[in-house]
Amino acid sequence: MNRTPPVIVGVVLVFASAWLGVAMYSYMTLGYLTSVPDKASDSTLPPALSGLADAGQRVFAAEGCAYCHTQQVRPASISGDIEKKLGSRRTVARDFLYQQPAAFGYLRIGPDLANYGLRAKDEAEVHRLLYQTGSAMPSYRYLYIVRPISGQQSAEALVGLRGSYSPPEGYEVVPTPEARALAAYLLSLKQDYSLPEAPLEKAK
């Protein structure tokens, strides 16, 4: 069978070149990136995730947040991301050091979240956004429990809910552990430090 080998060998070579160039190169170089020491705070950068935030990134992945939210600020040379104050420097591979999986995101149906932790007022605001539909984002009501108030209202009960989202008299809305973890993760999203390969930039 005369031409079998050239086609198969050629396809294998072509595929292998991309496989080595993308998959293996990424693994051998980016896969070995480590944190860098930070003299100012006597710790390392990027900052490690708390246990709760680490659990939260799995909720973020499972709920498919990355289909609508990117976590990539692109350099000022090609995009207006920095001018738009999505971040004060571009996002680089090292920023995903503690992310598993890396939630770099595909689309901006919702806003970029690379620095959401810097924009969010407090945890209560995050919970309100997740619980009630006020924007283009669907409600994640199922991550919360509506329960009767026994004695005093819980300290973590959601406040300021509107319309049909506000619980009936004598009831309160409290986050499940998943919702608490997700909020902790979202609040941890801050790229406000310099990295050797990505110093902080100023908006033009």
């Binding site: 198969i8 072509v14 990424s26 999986p101 890396a102 901006r108 669907p138």
Partner: protein, 464 residues
């Protein structure tokens, strides 16, 4: 050069006496599954699309939230519709182009059953507990392993058909089929091992994930779709491809650039600069195989008056192929990517590739084979032609709306003076119209579903 003198091959009676050819029946069963997944996947994506327009729609129900419907729908389309149709196309075309067949389809039917079951359970798992946020890797490991094993069982037959061919020479279609046959398992194993089963550290994941997701179209579904087009056109017209010698250049340039062009989505992203440049350059160079394929196919089609249904499918398929890669190349150009990379234009590229190019080409091959089960059934022909036109109108309309909306969205999201929620308001009318396009596309998919299932039922009631 030992290329075949013509792409038109007459195979009847080529296999040993006493063998009945199981492949048309196999293709019928595979098409029935694939068409079902096409309808299921589109229905899931349309529910998700309604939620984009109206976030309160089916709100607060865990298994019907946008973030779970989208991966379930995309996986149903890629692993259900596209991949099953592609596997059937590979086996059928390698048999036709080689003048050989398989002694029995038993293994393939078992593999089809296992594949369907694994995919069904996998999609239920995504809806019930969520995915993992990595495009096209969301199916749970048991489902991906089963699909891979089922694939291997059928790929062995594919390779045997290729090695055992009795017609000398290798046709343009065969190169693409063999390439896809090799790329699918390599891609799926790489993606799953490196990102899900033994995940590499976060910083290395973005390039691998982007390359994998791009590869599922560029290195798996696209080559099979091209093979279907390059088979249908000469077969229907009884003529050679216009520039047959160019075909080799077309094939090798396609493989070379397709292997890299998935990185075009990462321009400006957290990947090494050279990788993003490779993505942009190869996306741009994809215009070479696109031009060659266009010259080849339209050179033959020029002036033809025999516009049969499969031929219309092939012509529309090659148009969608050109449109997909042209749009992807423009989107990967760094200044353009900086504004539009994350807008609805990226959705339009995926829709035109998967819904237009792959659906029209593989659907064309299915409709090419179906008539032998139908015995001049005028309703079946009508359903087939509705499928074609509804798909063209639905996908075409949705793509135009998404591109127009995406242009507004990109400018609005880059303008420091416009808050994010306003950029959503601008694009909403276009998303609504694109949703109508998807509904038309779904109607077309239902026509294909009905045509294939009618043929299947008729075949089961009155076997030949």
């Amino acid at each position: 050069m030992s290329l075949g003198s013509s792409d038109t091959v007459e195979n009847s009676g080529r296999w040993p006496e006493g063998w009945t050819d199981p492949l048309p029946r196999l293709l019928l069963w595979f098409s029935a599954s694939a068409a079902t997944w096409l309808v299921v996947g589109l229905a899931l994506l349309i529910v998700a699309g309604v939620q984009v327009v109206n976030p309160a729609f089916l709100g607060g129900i865990s298994f019907l939230t946008y973030g779970r419907l989208v991966p379930a729908g995309i996986n149903a389309l890629v692993y259900g519709w596209g991949s099953l149709a592609a596997v059937a196309t590979i086996l059928y075309l390698l048999s036709r182009l080689g003048g050989v067949t398989m002694p029995s389809g038993r293994l393939a039917y078992c593999a089809l059953g296992a594949w369907n079951l694994a995919l069904l359970l996998g999609l239920c798992a995504i809806l019930a507990i969520g995915g993992n946020g990595l495009l096209l890797l969301e199916l749970p490991p048991f489902a991906n392993v089963t699909i891979l094993l089922a694939y291997v069982a059928m790929a062995i037959w594919g390779y045997a058909l290729f090695r055992g061919r009795r017609i000398p020479g290798v046709f343009a279609s065969s190169w693409y089929l063999v390439a896809a046959l090799l790329c699918f398992p390599w891609l799926v194993v790489t993606g799953n091992v490196l990102l899900v089963w033994l995940p590499i550290p976060g910083p290395a994941q973005a390039p691998v994930a982007a390359w994998f997701a791009g590869g599922m179209l560029n290195l798996w579904l696209a080559p099979v779709s091209l093979a279907a087009i390059f088979y249908i056109v000469p077969q229907v017209l009884g003529r050679r491809l216009a520039a047959y010698n160019l075909s080799q250049l077309g094939f090798w340039s396609f493989m070379l650039f397709a292997a890299w062009c998935g990185m075009g989505r990462m321009v400006g992203g957290p990947v090494p600069a050279w990788m993003a440049s490779m993505g942009f350059v190869t996306s741009f160079l994809m215009m070479i195989p696109v031009l060659i394929a266009g010259v080849n196919v339209f050179g033959v089609l020029k002036g033809t008056s025999e516009w049969t249904l499969p031929l219309r499918h092939a012509a529309a398929g090659i148009g969608a192929f050109a449109g997909t890669y042209l749009l992807a190349a423009i989107l990967a150009f760094p200044p353009v990517a900086g504004i539009f990379n994350f807008t609805d234009i990226a959705v339009a590229v995926g829709l035109l590739g998967l819904g237009g190019f792959v659906t029209l080409s593989l659907g064309g091959l299915i409709q090419f084979v179906l008539p032998q089960f139908e015995r001049r059934d005028s309703l079946a022909e009508k359903l087939g032609s509705w499928h074609l036109w509804l798909t063209i109108i639905g996908v075409g309309g949705a793509v135009v709306c998404l591109v127009l909306g995406g242009i507004l969205q990109g400018f609005a999201q880059s303008d420091p003076g416009i808050v994010f929620s306003h950029s959503v308001d601008y694009v909403m009318p276009f998303r609504f119209l694109a949703l109508l396009g998807l509904l038309i596309f779904l109607a077309g998919a239902i026509c294909l579903f009905l045509r294939v299932h009618r043929a299947l039922v008729r075949h089961l009631i009155t076997p030949p």
